[in-house]
Amino acid sequence: MLRSQVFAVLRRPLFYRFVSTTRSFIPPSQLNHVGESRPRRSGVQELDAALMQEIADEVEAEEEDLDEIDEKPKPHPESPSFYTGRASYYDNLIELQNAISSTRGTLKRLHLLPLPEFARKSLIPMPTVWKTPREMTVDFETTITISRYRKVIALLNELNEYLRIATTAGYEEIADKISGIVTIFESGKKDAILTRGIRKPIELDRCGRSYTSGRRKTSTARVWMIPVKESPQEEDVDVEEVFGLPQSQSKAPAVNVSVSTILINNFPIVEYFPQPVDRERLVRPLKIAGVLGKYNIFTLVRGGGTTGQSGAIAHGIAKGIFAHEPETGTVLRKAKLLRRDPRMVERKKTGLAKARKAYTWVKR
């Protein structure tokens, strides 16, 4: 065992004098004989009485200094595991272990551990995302290798299980204490990672507009939808009615209906899509959700051809309607309008003329 290791373990070094390594140790009794045994080297001073006295004085001074230090106690390291070299890491491990053991005891006393199988299945799912080894390295100020990381994660997972049990059982105090520890080790990107793949609810901006995107084949559409503001209807003044004169011809009945305006790349729908098929495809989500005339729509569309662009805009409109009115979700989903149509152009294969078309079969 190395001498340094021994001294590292001990709390107080035993021989202060021997710790310094600035010069080699010469016992005082041999100070007289220094010059005799050693071969002479050029530049080395011959030890005579004056030099010896100097050295002896120096040693005394050191002893005095060291005595002084002896009187002022050396400060203790902050943590008991200072000499592990990874104080932060081991301290945290110890803390986690303590937390686990205390929680285990509490839950056992509350008869929540060991939990039968049916109860375990009914626990509230609380998925978590722990910090990455890199993040833990920064926190613990030591390199977190995979094996160390696994140790930490094992303890954290056990703690998370106890948190689930406590939350499901309704013991809020215990749950709060555990979650206080657990949140320290949770990744900042937890929400983002957990909601990956799940449709995020689209929020309306301060003017009440929704911003959604739709795709079809290689086209992408960005759709902004805002509810139509109905201006107060101007009453047509019928002169004949006002003056009580007989009405000569039938008046047209008033039509109180708001109307949607659709602009695509700042063009009206008539100019952008000359084919009625594309126009009908665009308007279909509004029709099915029953919100014709309720929203004004502005879109920017790019890529693809007419079918792709009209399909992409329809997709975006359907998502926009869902954002404004979540009740229409069932109807739109049944009509497969909220679904991004996965059909894409099939690739050409080797040995075939096109994706499916084969070359003319020749008998010989």
Partner: protein, 443 residues
């Protein structure tokens, strides 16, 4: 009265019929070539789907009817003896539409009211102060407004000269001959037809007007005091004198100040084409102002010649690539210029002069909801669609077309495959196509 649906179905059968040359010698006549939407005689329509109660006739279009209160109401043009639709004709799309409808319907719009108000003012002023041109994007209803103006003025006992397809004057479809005296090209057949039509429509009024100066043609002479109707009749009878007769008629109409005159020209931009399709003996293109008839029209439209009372009303056609709206017209009418102008592009000073004085009368590009609803109801009563006439169909078609009149009618109502949902559906039948009766259960 057969419905619109019967007309559409009949057209296809009629077309196939007309191609059997052995049976039908008139297969290649002009009437049959423009044969879309010709209706079968009512006696041949025996199937139950053709049996329908005819809709109530819409009120007649009269000048008193055009007021702000009636905006969004549908009226019908009556078939009178001097019906301008029959005698003068209409642009092709309007013709096809009227073949489909049971009556010649038309909806009053705000632009109709504005136009009629302008014409009322023009009745008291010389025509050079009322040179209007109806402009707007494709399918916004310029030709219909022009037709309404023609009907209005006719009912007010003006003299109306309506040229529904002015491009036929410059696209080399009618004979042209050079005249040494005037040094312009005459179009005798066109002039003859035009005189006949003008006479048919305006005979009553023209009978009351007489010529101030006598005129001598080669074989015919018309002394002073002859009625203008007789002059027109003489010109309509003989091709040789038709062009000069028309010129004289216009001169007499310009000189008198008793009765206002309306000159209505559809395809107005065709008159301003830089080169007509006609060729001279050297095979260079003849300019429209070197053709006698277009020249008269250009002079009247620009104010170089004018009626003492009356107006000149033109309507642009934006869908013809052979006769696009030229730069000169666009500048005068302050229309948005499409492509950036090239410094090397040719400009015609003559046409610039002829374009001076034209005033823009913009037609709104959208139906208002009220107008669209009236038009929708009119087509639904004529059973254009088997779908039920409800808010959903109306609003979806209006949204799809953006309110554009042509798109709303032709692609929205007539061009859609929407139909009525099947009735008496037996839910126990497994497959949708069998359930809805698309594929018969028992073959």
């Amino acid at each position: 009265m057969a419905s619109a649906l019967s007309r559409v179905s009949a057209s296809s059968s009629n077309v196939t019929k007309s191609f059997k040359i052995g049976n039908n010698k008139k297969a290649f006549t002009r009437k049959n070539r423009v044969g879309a939407f010709r209706s079968l005689p009512a006696a041949q329509l025996n199937l139950p789907i053709f049996q329908s109660t005819p809709p109530l006739p819409a009120p007649s279009f009269k000048p008193e009817v055009v007021t702000e209160n009636t905006i969004g109401t549908v009226f019908a043009f009556d078939e009178t003896k001097n019906d301008p639709i029959k005698h003068f004709g209409t642009p092709k799309s309007m013709l096809l539409e009227y073949r489909l409808l049971s009556q010649r319907y038309s909806v009053i719009r705000d632009i109709t009211v504005i136009t009629t108000e302008e014409l009322e003012e023009a009745a008291l002023e010389p025509s050079h102060q009322s040179n209007y041109v109806l402009t707007g994007p494709t399918g916004c209803g310029k030709s219909f407004v022009l037709l309404q103006a023609v009907q209005y003025c006719l009912a007010k006992e003006w003299v109306v000269i309506y040229i529904p397809r002015a491009k036929t004057l410059v696209n080399s479809t009618t004979m042209h001959t050079y005249d040494l005296r005037t040094r312009t090209y005459f179009q005798p057949k066109f002039a003859q037809q035009l005189l006949q039509r003008t006479l048919d429509v305006n005979s009553k009024v023209l009978e009351t007007m007489t010529m101030r100066e006598g005129v001598n043609f080669d074989r015919r002479s018309f002394p002073a005091g002859t009625t203008l109707a007789a002059l027109a009749a003489g010109g309509a009878k003989e091709q040789a004198i038709s062009s000069v007769a028309f010129e004289t008629l216009i001169g007499e109409l310009c000189a008198q100040s008793k009765i206002p005159i309306l000159l209505a020209i559809d395809d107005f931009q065709a008159l301003y084409t830089p080169k007509s399709s006609y060729r001279d003996p050297h095979f260079s293109a003849i300019r429209p102002y070197h053709l006698a008839l277009p020249r008269i029209l250009l002079e009247l439209a620009s104010g170089k010649r004018f009626f003492q009372r009356g107006a000149v009303l033109g309507a642009l056609t934006t869908t013809d690539p052979k006769f696009p709206v030229t730069q000169e017209l666009k500048e005068v009418l302050e229309l948005p210029i499409g492509k950036p102008r090239s410094a090397y592009g040719r400009r015609s000073r003559v046409l610039e002069e002829y374009a001076e004085g034209c005033m823009n009368l913009p037609v709104p590009e959208q139906f208002s909801v009220k107008e669209a609803a009236a038009v929708f109801e009119m087509w639904m009563k004529d059973q254009a669609l088997t779908a039920p006439a409800n808010d959903e169909v109306f609003l979806s078609k209006y949204t799809e077309s953006g309110g554009n009149p042509k798109a709303f009618v032709w692609q929205g109502i007539l061009g859609t495959l929407e139909g009525a949902s099947p009735e008496d559906v037996d839910e126990s039948v497994p497959w949708p196509q069998l359930r809805e009766g698309r594929v018969p259960l028992a073959l």
